[in-house]
């Protein structure tokens, strides 16, 4: 009896859900929304899914590959029509995506790519390397191609920390008069960047620039520099957050690089929709999304990871 009741309730729930959301369920799995960048992805995916008539379920893997694998099982068990994923590891993510594929559920990657093709239907990749080169070129220009600088690197286990650093160096290292006096990881963290910057300033008082792997570290570095009376040091970040936009408009941080997080998530849902309806996205699997340089000229147009 209990079982029948449960089945009945489930059936009713299913019925209501399918009446409201004719398209079925789209599951979006991202890193923690504590970082506004990832929140923007989740919000973008949810809004577009609802707009196109799907139910949206937002899940968070916290950059933990095991947790991500469990969330894939959840998505499979819930009978998702498609999965939107900002993944937790270029290699570790391949197996769960294959599992979903075997269960007939296509996965659409956003922001970060995986080291294998023909598993996901689309990989809409944020071009971190191109973005880092843009940021690096702006930094070189602001520095007048010379001077002492510091690099704050992101979390060393994160693919994008490496890519951005590589992009910066591929530009900056071509200018022999630019000398890196310190290079440390501040793990994407504002407070850690503040503390590391404080001690770097003590050891190297003669610095003209700081290039950072993301915006939160740029905010921390800028605060430490101002506290040390070095507010004129050139600071460049990466992400395009509203905090750094405001700092640029106030004349503190000089530039950042915008990754269109919201739009990337929307595009993934649009492509999922097209794929579900026609069997093809009509686009190559791997799609690079270029980043955009933000400086005092266009900062006022920036709002929540999109240019107005």
């Amino acid at each position: 009896m209990k079982k029948m009741l449960a089945a009945g309730v489930t059936f009713c729930c299913f019925l209501t859900a399918s009446m409201v959301y004719a398209g079925g369920l789209i599951v979006a799995i991202t890193p923690s929304p504590d970082n506004p960048f990832f929140k923007s992805e989740a919000v973008g995916a949810e809004a577009k899914a609802k707009e196109l008539g799907y139910e949206a379920l937002l899940l968070v893997h916290d950059d933990d590959a095991n947790k991500q694998s469990e969330l894939f099982d959840t998505a499979i068990a819930r009978g998702a029509k498609a999965i939107i994923l900002d993944n937790a590891g270029a290699d570790a993510s391949i197996a769960p995506i294959e599992r979903a594929k075997k269960a007939g559920i296509p996965t659409f990657l956003i922001d970060r790519e995986i080291n294998k093709t023909d598993v996901a239907i689309a990989q809409i990749v944020s071009n971190n390397y191109q973005g880092a080169k843009l940021g690096g070129e702006e930094f070189v220009k602001l520095m007048g191609e010379k001077g002492n600088f510091v690099e704050l690197v992101g979390k060393e286990s994160d693919t994008n920390a490496g890519i951005r650093s590589q992009g910066y160096h591929d530009v900056i290292d071509q200018y022999p008069d630019l000398k890196m006096v310190a290079r440390q990881s501040a793990n994407w963290s504002q407070t850690e960047a503040y503390e590391k910057m404080e001690s770097i300033i003590q050891a190297n008082p003669d610095i003209q620039g700081v290039i950072c792997g993301n915006d939160t570290m740029a905010m921390g570095a800028m605060a430490a520099l101002k506290a040390a009376g070095k507010g004129d040091v050139i600071v460049v970040g990466f992400d395009g957050s509203n905090d750094v936009r405001d700092s640029i408009l106030a004349g503190d941080i000089k530039a950042t690089v915008l990754q269109p997080a919201y739009r990337i998530a929307e595009m993934a849902v649009e492509q999922a929709d097209k794929y579900l309806k026609t069997g093809s996205t009509g686009l190559p699997e791997k799609q690079l999304m270029d980043c955009v340089l933000i400086n005092s000229e266009n900062a006022s147009k920036l709002e929540t990871f999109a240019l107005k």
Binding site: A90, V125, R183, P284, K286, L288, D290
Partner: protein, 226 residues
């Protein structure tokens, strides 16, 4: 039989345990700092497989495919530029190339001849300004002459190169860097950089639509100075 089996299992378990202990005791814990000091200036790229030989790949396609491709596909700048200055999007639709639509700028494969009206060798990303024939004394474009080349115009103009064929964006980036390196070596290294002003140049090359700008910044594939 059963008891023999069980003692056999136990024996195997003991061996496994012994190996484990041995393996753990022979490990040394290396602190992270040592590693990062070793790699100072260059950090590990966490997912680069390291097997992709970008320089080799670029050398292989340069003479065989890239140079002939530009010889064949390049559009005269005098045809393109009037449309470009009126409407970049329209110029892209008519003459440009990009692998996919959204989030990518247009790329153009072009050719032209003109006079050098300015030389900027102050920056390591050196350029010359070219006034296209028929000359009117004003600059129509800048041509990159290195040793630093900005952008990835050459890679992004090649319709036989697709991002999907590369493991990740780093390999794809390495290809662009390798192609730019060949330009520096094959095309611009022999230039008489101090005596370019006023000379006539003919070139083929590529340029990419830049953010909020109508600057035509060409990376050359071939360049002749008369």
């Amino acid at each position: 039989m059963k008891s023999i089996n069980r003692s056999g299992d136990r024996f195997i378990a003991q061996i496994v345990l012994f190996i484990c202990i041995f393996a753990i005791s022979s490990c040394t814990i290396v602190p992270d700092e040592e590693k990062s000091e070793e790699n100072d200036g260059k950090i590990d790229i966490y997912f680069a497989s390291g097997t992709f030989k970008a320089d080799e790949y670029a050398e292989n396609i340069w003479g065989k495919r890239v140079v002939p491709f530009f010889k064949e596909k390049s559009l005269p700048l005098e045809t393109l530029l009037p449309v470009w200055h009126k409407d970049q999007q329209a110029a892209g639709n008519e003459f440009g190339y990009r692998e996919k639509a959204e989030g990518s700028p247009w790329n153009f494969r072009v050719k032209g001849s003109g006079n050098v009206v300015a030389v900027n060798t102050q920056s390591r990303a050196s350029t010359i300004d070219v006034d296209l024939i028929p000359c009117d004394g004003t600059s129509d474009l800048v041509l990159q002459i290195g040793p630093v080349f900005k952008g990835s115009s050459i890679r992004d103009s090649l319709d036989f190169i697709s991002f999907t064929d590369f493991t990740n964006q780093l390999e794809f980036a390495q290809l662009s860097n390798a192609l730019n390196k060949i330009v520096g070596k094959e095309v611009t290294s022999t230039l008489d950089r101090d005596n370019l002003m006023g000379k006539k140049v003919s070139f083929t090359g590529a340029f990419t639509q830049l953010q909020d700008s109508d600057l035509v910044r060409v990376t050359p594939v071939s360049l002749e100075v008369e």
